[in-house]
């Protein structure tokens, strides 16, 4: 962790370069990272809200479902994108790691941080939607930074595990596409948790992404302090996972020079 502080200048350099390559270089890049999530949102709301008539429990308003969906879906997309990219970050940058004693941990870190831009774009889309449909958000919006920090920690943990694991097992990035597809549908995002049959509820309680998205939805949509049964387990889990991932990365990075 000390190295993150030591190399903050380097990380910042990489982030700047990454963002300018993606957004500043081409106007279209920024355009698509706004248009794409909006199109996806509209399609899902049409299919689930209009055709399948999914509603929140005790609520018949389709717009409430739309906001509920957006509050979970937008953070999820950012989460998924940054994991997919950071899983490749070590193998994609092998030229450095093979030749000089490069602090390889900065690669998953900078990818995760620079993908935060996507999260911010998503949140802006959400607030525009919220302003139109509901007006000014409640004070509980102040919980948002907290949710973001938790998400960064969770994302970084997975990024450390997967980017380093991918060096040892090159198929990891390819496997992630399928894994995220399953994970997305196993998580209450496009539907609510009460639609899950009783016998399968344990799946949701074991799903860290559910906890993470609940905190987002409390801050963004419900406007309430998250349940302690959601908050405490997820904070503990994130911290433990984060420490474990750093340990794992430190342990496995010794083999990078040889395996890349």
């Amino acid at each position: 962790m000390t190295s993150i502080f030591e190399y903050r200048g380097l990380i910042w350099n990489f982030i700047k370069r990454d963002i300018s390559q993606k957004y500043v270089g081409s106007l279209l890049g920024l355009y698509w990272s706004v248009i794409n999530p909006i199109i996806t949102l509209v399609v899902y709301i049409l299919v689930f809200g209009v055709f399948l008539k999914v509603r929140l429990p005790g609520d018949t308003d389709i717009w409430d479902f739309a906001l509920y969906f957006a509050a979970g879906f937008l953070p999820w997309t950012a989460f998924q994108d940054s994991i997919m990219r950071s899983a490749r970050s070590i193998i994609d940058n092998k030229n450095y790691i093979k030749k000089v004693p490069f602090p390889s941990e900065i690669f998953p870190i900078y990818v995760t941080l620079s993908e935060l831009v996507n999260l911010l774009i998503g949140l802006v889309i959400f607030f525009v939607l919220f302003l139109i449909l509901k007006g000014i958000p409640t004070v509980f919006i102040l919980l948002l930074p907290f949710a973001i920090i938790l998400q960064i920690m969770f994302t970084l943990s997975l990024a450390f595990f997967l980017s380093s694991g991918a060096v040892y097992f090159r198929d990891i990035p390819q496997m992630l596409t399928a894994i995220f597809m399953i994970w997305f549908w196993a998580t209450p995002i496009a539907y609510t948790v009460n639609l899950i049959p009783e016998g399968l509820h344990w799946i949701v309680t074991l799903n860290p992404a559910y906890y993470m998205l609940e905190i987002y939805r409390d801050a963004l949509f419900y406007g309430k302090i998250p349940d302690m049964s959601i908050l405490v387990p997820f904070v503990v889990f994130s911290v433990v996972l984060f420490i474990a991932s750093i340990w794992f990365f430190k342990k496995t990075k010794r083999g990078f020079g040889e395996l890349l």
Binding site: L10, R17, K99, V100, F102, G257
Partner: protein
């Protein structure tokens, strides 16, 4: 105090037959073994006292890069330990650790921060780095726009300017131009004088001789020689010579009758490969490649077994089929059962076996190399015949089996066979001692010409006319070219001779430019032309190219026979100098 000390260092790589093998081992937590071990380094121990320079020599694959990677902290050693006292700055490979999308400036700061310099410290050195690299305004361009020379200039400037105690330099330096290399070496000397420790790794024996306090020779992952640079460099040369010798023995021998000049080619199979009907079941392409035998490139048709090549051609009277068969050395161990080569002739609906032979190079040493054959085709004279060349084999992994049909031809005896005895320039004059150092030269022993006259022998002699191949700088060297005329030459006969050094031609001239008239010659005449000159040259090996031609004009040269690099001689001198020619200066001092 030692700047670097290395004790019994070893590095083992695990070689997996397939990527799945590695995964299987992880899954079984080591209970299943799929890998074989490969020791890239073994039992490496040395010390570099602070303030000295160590050179490490070794061929490709000797373990130099692995050793450097371990010292630089990229690879973990599998055995032993090492200790480094002081900050290391390394120039490993071209622009490694640089990001192609970042500007030169960003990369300098990036490298600085990897080296543990603060922004302020890089700021202080930045101007000097740019000045030394001579990049000027390019420093703000992305690195991908740089030439390889610019990258290495920047890399070197940064590496020598980060104020490290230990500098590791590898052969990446060779990329820079001569001026920059010169400046690098001067900078390295400055650093030596400033008491820095330097580790130089590469192939450049001159750099090792000039820069290093001591040297090591790595081979096969072990230290096989250590001591003063001169001893180590000599051992390195001996090693190369030995390698070259075993390589030649393995690949370049020919068996059987070699076609003489009395034959002429009427059909070349390699040239007409596109006309052949090809059957290859393995999906491996059958193609023509060039193989160097005794340094002479020759065309062979690679045919991985099982394969079948069918040529349908008319056979002229008194034709013979000439060809060779061989298996490349890399495949010897892979095919213990060998490869069977068959040739069948199909004419008038009847198939008749012409040739069948199995080569088992792994078992029989005699089967290694290339085997020449000449088969008479008189039974087929005047007919159209389908010749079927097939290879078959039962080795474990035939994908490794590079079996080939060499220089297959239909040949005819010439009407007027050469009445003169066949003499080979190559056989008569090469001194075996010098042959060992041939890799130093870009040796392309090639012979061209229409053979109206033949060079029968070339000799290098001392001033008394005795054959000799080593000289002191300044000695007179006589180059004798013996020529036999197959046809009469009226006029403009010219004989020339060129001396080449390692990198360039040193001197060449001919009888025409020297205003020496050779007159006219009749068929059957034999002459010897002697060029005598003082070789005021630097220590090294030089080659001789001689030739004779009819020079109708400077632009219209009819080459009769020309032998490139047909022999080599050595010049030694005790005098210290740089460059290739000793201009024998006189020095005077005028005090004003």
């Amino acid at each position: 105090m030692n700047a670097i000390s290395v004790r019994q260092l070893g590095k083992k790589f695990k070689m997996f037959p397939s990527p799945g093998g590695r995964f299987l081992e992880y899954l079984s937590a080591g209970r299943l073994t799929r890998h074989t071990d490969f020791w890239a380094l073994q039992d490496i121990s040395f010390e570099i006292p602070a303030g000295t320079t160590l050179g490490i020599l070794g061929q490709n694959g000797s373990g130099k890069s692995t050793l450097l990677s371990i010292l630089a902290g990229v690879l973990e050693p599998s055995a032993g330990s090492f200790e480094i006292n002081g900050k290391v700055s390394a120039i490993l490979e071209l622009g490694s650790g640089f990001h192609p999308e970042f500007s030169g400036r960003d990369n300098v700061y990036m490298y600085g921060s990897i080296m543990g310099l603060s922004k302020q410290e890089v700021d202080d050195r930045f101007d000097e780095i740019v000045r030394f690299s001579e990049l000027g305004d390019f420093i703000d361009q992305p690195l991908r726009t740089y030439s390889s020379g610019m990258i290495v200039r920047l890399a070197f400037s940064v590496a020598v300017n980060v104020n490290a105690d230990i500098l590791i330099v590898d052969e990446a330096l060779a990329v820079g131009d001569a001026i920059f290399q010169h400046r690098c070496f001067r900078k390295i000397r400055e650093m030596q004088e400033a008491g820095k420790t330097i580790l130089y790794v590469g192939h450049d024996t001159e750099a090792v001789r000039n820069l290093c306090t001591s040297a090591l020779l790595l081979d096969g992952g072990r230290i096989i020689e250590r001591g003063d640079p001169n001893t180590v460099v000599n051992k390195y040369y001996a090693l190369i010579a030995e390698r070259e010798r075993t390589y030649s023995e393995g690949n370049l021998i020919e068996h059987g009758e070699i076609l003489g000049e009395e034959y002429e080619t009427t059909y070349d199979f390699a040239q007409h490969l596109s006309d052949a009907k090809i059957v290859s079941t393995k999906g491996v392409p059958i193609n023509v490649q060039t193989v160097e035998i005794q340094s002479v490139p020759r065309r062979v048709i690679f045919a991985h077994p099982p394969s079948k090549l069918t040529y349908t051609i008319p056979v002229e009277p008194v034709s013979s089929l000439a060809f060779a068969i061989g298996i490349l050395p890399a495949a010897w161990d892979k095919i213990p059962q060998g490869v069977k080569f068959d040739i069948d002739a199909v004419s008038d609906g009847a198939t008749e076996p012409l040739f069948s032979r199995v080569l088992m190079p792994k078992r029989n040493i005699g089967d290694r190399g290339w085997h020449n054959f000449i088969l008479p085709l008189e039974n087929y004279s005047g007919k159209t015949v389908s010749l079927v060349f097939s290879t078959s084999g039962s080795g474990d992994d035939l994908s490794y089996c590079w079996s080939a049909w060499g220089w297959g031809k239909i040949v005819k005896l010439r009407q007027s066979a050469n009445p003169f005895p066949h003499q080979n320039v190559e056989d008569t004059t090469l001194n075996t001692d010098i042959k060992h150092e041939l890799p130093e030269l870009s040796n392309s022993k090639v012979r061209i010409g229409n053979k109206k006259a033949r060079i029968t022998k070339v000799e290098v002699c001392d001033i008394d006319g005795n054959e000799k191949l080593t000289f002191q700088s300044g000695d007179v060297v006589k180059i004798k070219t013996h020529i036999l005329f197959n046809q009469s030459i009226e006029k403009n006969l010219t004989v020339g001779c060129v001396i080449k050094g390692k990198y360039s031609e040193i001197f060449g001239t001919n009888t025409r430019w020297e205003k020496f008239n050779l007159g006219s010659k009749n068929a059957g005449d034999a002459i010897t032309v002697v060029f005598s000159q003082e070789v005021k040259l630097a220590t090294g090996i030089y080659s001789v190219t001689t030739g004779c031609a009819i020079v109708h004009s400077e632009e219209d040269v009819e080459v009769l026979d020309r032998c490139y690099d047909c022999l080599f001689f050595r010049v030694t001198t005790n005098k210290k100098m740089v460059g290739i020619v000793d201009l024998c200066p006189t020095i005077e001092v005028i005090n004003n």
